[in-house]
């Protein structure tokens, strides 16, 4: 099977993406936090603008930390996360995976193998370097190249 598009994890990424991809959502998130405060709490806020700024910095910091943790995961299947899945997200996920798959075929075979070892086998740069005889910098270069190709193939979203 070419892909496992039904994998709930994959679908969840898109659901998650859908409500945070846009920079404007930051403002939205902050506003929602403010709006959810009980009325008497809201009344206590003398300077709503400063409050919203503080909240939106906080939201951005939270996102940065979440992005960090997602970035360093060895295998990123947070099994059991029960976010609901909608059909649009499912189709989008499958679509992107198809495009990535097509892009992989066009990659230089060496870059492809290195990326696959890093991505699918969870190998470290040092391990791949040792295996291929490249330097760690060289492995990083291949990784960057594969990422750039995939990113372009993934489309504007």
């Amino acid at each position: 099977m070419l892909y496992r598009a039904q994998a709930p994890k994959l679908l969840r990424m898109f659901v998650r993406r859908a409500d945070r991809d846009d920079a404007h959502d930051l403002v939205h998130d902050s506003f929602v936090q403010w709006a959810r405060l009980p009325e008497e709490e809201r009344a206590k806020i003398v300077n709503p603008e400063a409050y919203l700024n503080a909240v939106s910095q906080n939201v951005l910091r939270s996102r940065a930390r979440a992005a960090y943790h997602r970035s360093i995961m060895v295998q990123d299947e947070d099994a059991g996360d029960r976010a609901s899945v909608d059909i649009t997200a499912a189709l989008e996920a499958r679509d992107m995976l198809k495009r990535l798959d097509a892009a992989m075929v066009k990659l230089d075979p060496k870059t492809r193998e290195i990326f696959m070892a890093l991505r699918l086998d969870g190998a470290t740069y040092a391990e791949v370097a040792k295996r291929t005889g490249l330097t760690v910098k060289g492995v990083e270069w291949h990784m960057g190249k594969a990422l750039a190709t995939l990113r372009r193939a993934a489309g504007h979203r």
Partner: protein, 317 residues
Amino acid sequence: MSGPDDAVARLEAEAQQWLVRLRGDGASNRAAFEDWYCASPDHAAAYDRVLLTWEVSAHLTRADRNGSARPKWPSWRPVAAAVAAAMLLMVGIGVATLAGVGRGPANAFSLVTKVGEIRSDRLPDGTRVTLDTDSRVDAVFTASRRQLRLVRGRARIAAASDARRPMELDAASVTVGDGEVVDLMRSSGLTTITMLDGAGSVHVGQQSVRLSAGQMLAVADTGPVAAPSALRDGDTRWPSGMLSFADAALAVVVAEANRYSQTRIALDGDDVARLRFTGTFRGGDAAGLAHMLAKGFHLRLSRGPDGSFILSAPPGK
């Protein structure tokens, strides 16, 4: 007009470089990365796009390219890498024997997290264990059985199915017989079992309770077993590290946040403790939370001798 597109492409190139760096050495690049990410919502958006691509690429397979879906490298390698990266504490065995779990003789090992840490590991049988802050799970795998015992804290266990070796989950006096995705939590004499997927039976002494997906059960170390109750919205989100509250007393919010941080937040006075908080934040950032609460509720923020943050009502109130 290519101006805006160029800017986007440049940011995405930067974002890719950050991901490459973080994959190589996350810890020493973390602070600089988070500053870059927060410097502008455009940085954040560019990085999120790159990260999404990276995450989706995990679902690519090799099947159509070299005729085999099997990884070329041993399948335990991701676990070994995780062990090295996260300095997983192994009791009694080395990494090499962990690789043998599932085939060889009895294996015992422990998974441990520090305060503030949330980590997810895949065991060689395919079972995924996610540990919450300050938690510990002891595992015993033999040819005929798999046992995971929660010693403290909270764990989410997504058990790989293995008809010959049923998974047994234990915490204090409780044993969960089956079930696919289960949260187990130990907290001050109480064991909480949350069934996220599948169904399972929970055994406490002679009693047995059937738990279906979406239900949770609390079992006191002393006393009777309550009836299962339905999950609430925020009950299952802890692996994300985000703490969500809806109209919760500040005392509750702070107690939960303190579980994730060495630096504690203290509330001075009942009036402060009774304030109601609604919102979401990431656990582990006591300073950020203390400042946000001080600002949002107009409280006075001071530091205790041990470095803790103290929130009190402003003077004249």
